[in-house]
């Protein structure tokens, strides 16, 4: 199990076990869990808690790692809260190969920078895209529509909308 000193908080949500670790300890915690048998990183993503009053959040961005032990069928969600512009956290793509694309996606859509990732580039959006679409302050429908008759009307830069 992860050394208890790394765990900030633990709980159960909707039947799923989760632990929160400090943002600097993510790599250590996941390495410990992998050695223990949680060999599958099911997915990795981010949640933006901008203006979220459901509880008091330690930071705006929550990076979520869903792990599974395929032998004992145990599942564990590891969460880490990061702030900053851009938010930074250590990459785990050296521990779990599938994390490579997941981290690129999270960088693309949330702007979370993964330190030590081999090639952190956009993956779903075009390379020249401005902004990170899944952030809560990024408007829906504000993107530039090419070849539209109302081109000017649609052209709202994400930072102004």
């Amino acid at each position: 199990m992860i050394p208890e000193t790394l765990i900030v908080e633990r709980g159960v949500s909707g039947g799923d076990q989760w632990v929160t670790v400090g943002p600097a300890d993510v790599h250590d915690a996941l390495a410990a869990l992998r050695d223990e048998g949680y060999r599958l990183l099911v997915f990795l993503t981010c949640v933006d808690h901008l203006v979220d009053s459901s509880r008091k959040w330690p930071a705006r961005y929550e990076v979520v790692y869903q792990l599974r032990n395929m032998d004992t069928l145990e599942q564990l969600r590891v969460r880490a809260f990061v702030d900053g512009d851009p938010p930074r956290i250590d990459s785990v793509s050296d521990l779990f190969p599938p994390a490579n694309w997941d981290e690129r996606e999270t960088y693309d859509l949330f702007g979370v920078v993964f330190n030590g990732h081999p090639e952190l580039t956009r993956i779903l959006m075009p390379d020249d895209w401005v902004g990170h679409p899944l952030r809560r302050d990024y408007p829906v429908g504000g993107e530039v529509v090419e070849f539209s008759e109302e081109h000017e009307a649609w052209q709202t830069a994400p930072d102004k909308a």
Binding site: S13, G14, G15, D16, W18, R39, L40, L41, V42, F43, T45, V47, D48, H49, D52, S53, S54, R55, V64, Q66, M70, L73, Q75, R77, F96, P97, P98, N100, W101, R104, E105, L109, E119, T121, R122, I123, L124, M125, P126, D127, P133, L134, R136, Y138, V140
Partner: protein
């Protein structure tokens, strides 16, 4: 990177893709050539782009570039109310809409703390298995087409059309059914649906025999797939592959058995596996899975329980139409539900289901309002595509087609 004369030998063209211009000579005496494959190419099953370094006809490196079908589905979900989101879940993996609905519905139900009645569970299993069959049929038809078995498409789409008719009968839609919803299903199965399904289940085994007669011992099909695109069990596990990709490498892992949902634990079926670890093995797995799906359908049909198909909670599902004319309370519930929606208790949950391609999961985060804070789809195609390079390395270009085909990635699912 630069050579001694100071000239750049690599060229970064974006999306993490670097073109090699070193002029290096390959094993066959020719220059290593970087070739762009796709994105608009029929054998990429959508719009997948590959940057391939070729030594003669051999693949020296392969780099998938995705994102051409990105439609911002996760962003849209945040702007829709909980019950409206179902319609969007249909559209990312467009070959298995009810299975996506199921993942979303189960996740919302877990947070709401409700469980659907037995008849709804059985109908969900029926729709999931029909979808799995339809998805494998599309896969087999198109892969056959790519590898020279032209008639496969005709045979496979014949049965797929019957499944589309079944979808139409039960939900009104042929493809994007939105049939499975949080709290139950759209409507009860009509007697005609059950009759059609019975006929379908009776005829399907002989149809699968027909596909096997066309492919299993076909010398061209065998020489194009046996030994091609090997992926060892260890590699498959490390790369996070799921579904027929993992089972085709001999790992008996199926979420329907491992982490059963919607009552799969009460059905008698086997996990289809193959130890061949190659394209042919993945084909055999899908054939076996189709037979198992028919078996599950037969069981579900024979012991379809009676009763309601929705939970009895007017805060989540609208009241029946006839109640609106007599009951003021029903009108209020109806009004509240369609103007404001319902709110889900704060929390997050991840539910995984087995789709035709592997583990398709739905991770939802609620902040207690009537719209989701975050919906994340874990898509099997996205993860399985990362194993492409491992499988295609040192194969011929033509084999690459077989490998992309048997990886069965749906790019809509991959890019969301």
């Amino acid at each position: 990177m630069a050579d001694r004369s100071g000239q750049s030998v690599t060229d970064t063209i974006g999306q993490g893709v670097t073109i090699n211009k070193s002029g290096e000579t390959g094993a066959f005496g020719g220059e290593i050539l970087t070739v762009n494959f796709g994105p608009h190419h029929p054998s990429t099953h959508g719009v997948l782009r590959l940057i391939v370094d070729l030594d003669g006809e051999q693949v020296r490196s392969l780099k998938p570039v995705i994102g051409y079908l990105h439609t911002g589905i996760e962003k849209q979900m945040e702007a829709l109310r909980w019950q409206q989101g179902v319609v969007v879940t249909d559209r990312h993996d467009y070959l298995s809409p009810p299975i996506n609905n199921l993942a979303y519905a189960l996740a919302v139900e877990r947070l709401l703390g409700v469980e659907v009645p037995p008849r709804a569970q059985a109908l969900r299993v029926i729709m999931s298995e029909l979808t799995r069959l339809a998805s494998h049929l599309v896969w087999m038809g198109t892969s056959g087409l790519e590898l020279g078995a032209m008639s496969m498409l005709m045979y496979c789409f014949r049965e797929r059309d019957t499944i589309m008719d079944l979808n139409e009968e039960i939900s009104g839609f042929r493809m994007h059914t939105s049939y499975i919803r949080p709290g139950g299903v759209f409507a009860d199965a009509t007697p005609r649906f059950l009759e059609m399904l019975d006929r379908f289940v009776n005829t399907m085994p002989s149809n699968i025999d027909e596909y096997e007669a066309l492919l299993t011992n076909n010398p061209i099909w065998r020489s194009r797939t046996i030994g091609v695109g090997r992926l060892s069990a260890d590699d498959a596990k490390v790369l996070g592959a799921t579904g027929p990709m993992l089972r085709g490498s001999g790992v008996a892992w199926d979420l329907r058995k491992a982490i059963p949902y919607t009552g799969y634990e009460s059905y008698d079926f086997e996990i289809a596996t193959s130890d061949l670890c190659d394209c042919y093995g993945r084909y055999l797995v899908r054939i076996k899975e189709m037979r198992q799906a028919v078996k599950i359908l037969r069981q579900a049909l024979d012991r379809l329980p009676d009763g309601p198909v929705n939970i009895d909670d007017r805060k989540v599902l609208p009241p029946p139409r006839e109640e609106l004319e007599t009951s003021m309370e029903a009108v209020i519930h109806h009004f509240k539900l369609f103007t404001e929606g319902y709110s889900v208790p704060p929390g997050d949950v991840y539910v995984a289901v087995e789709s035709g391609r592997g583990e398709n999961g739905c991770y939802i985060v609620s902040d207690g309002t009537h719209k989701p804070r975050r919906v994340k789809f874990r898509s099997a195609s996205f993860v399985n595509l990362q194993a492409l390079e491992r499988m295609a390395l040192n194969h011929m270009v033509a084999d690459m087609i077989a490998i992309i085909g048997t990886a069965d990635a749906v790019l809509g699912d991959c890019d969301r």
